[in-house]
Assembly symmetry: C2
């Protein structure tokens, strides 16, 4: 169990990184709209982007909860949330993976329809938000691997 405190700090750093990526992605996504010649594109018109926003919001709330638990465990030197972390990290990383894929899936094919590239800035923002969500997913997946290994170091 020597490396347990080190891996906890790694988890905490990765969770904070996840939070930062989610937070920036949130603000980029909610400002994703563009008006060209009285025709307005808004992220809110598309189910996939709305789903993406939902995964980001749920991700942020869940992530903050987990950061609180991790801090609590580091301070108390406790180990009580290993199973919660394991399932929570799995859930969070799947959630972020689907949000990223839905965002990219729609952006790529919508952009192709917009052949004259009128809505360039709209798609740039949509891509930026999806990419940041992808980074958040990478961090969450790494935490999920660590929390699976923590299961096997238990007791």
């Amino acid at each position: 169990m020597e490396n347990s405190s080190g891996s906890r700090v790694t988890c905490l750093i990765l969770r904070i990184l996840t939070f930062v990526f989610l937070f920036i992605s949130f603000f980029i996504l909610i400002t994703t709209s563009q008006t060209v010649q009285s025709f307005k594109l808004n992220f809110n018109d598309y189910h996939a982007f709305r789903y993406m926003l939902a995964t980001i919001i749920i991700g942020i709330v869940f992530n903050l909860l987990q950061i609180a638990f991790t801090l609590f465990n580091i301070v108390k030197n406790g180990n009580s949330t290993i199973l919660f972390d394991f399932f929570g990290d799995k859930f969070l990383s799947y959630l972020l993976a689907t949000g990223t894929a839905a965002g990219f899936g729609l952006s790529v094919d919508l952009k192709k329809i917009d052949e004259s590239d009128l809505f360039g800035s709209f798609f740039d923002k949509a891509y930026a938000a999806s990419t940041l969500l992808l980074f958040a997913f990478f961090c969450a997946a790494a935490v999920s691997i660590l929390s699976s290994f923590a299961l096997s170091n238990r007791s």
Copy 2:
């Protein structure tokens, strides 16, 4: 380690289920095309559906490899592929999650554009393929949870 052989059989059944869902999803997806008044919609025109097809094909190949390893382990009563299973199942379940999300993300918003529901059968097939891929993802996620627990029963 008493329940190890039982959990291996469960894994095998879930992997075979994953394979079945992927296989049906593959055939539905590649037949997803519809021609209405000389305008043809084909799944191949959309990056998101092509990505979905790629995840299905990689998923099938990877899944068959894992079934072979699981059978080998059951016959030899060996335990050598626990880490391979752990990372492999994580990879496969993330892959299927993103494929499902990309498929649904595009289908939902494309269907909304098609207001007069001309391409109903195209979208029905796209939804069917995505839903089967979702079921395959559920099985893969369950296997991934089992193979994480197998890590902690090791040695």
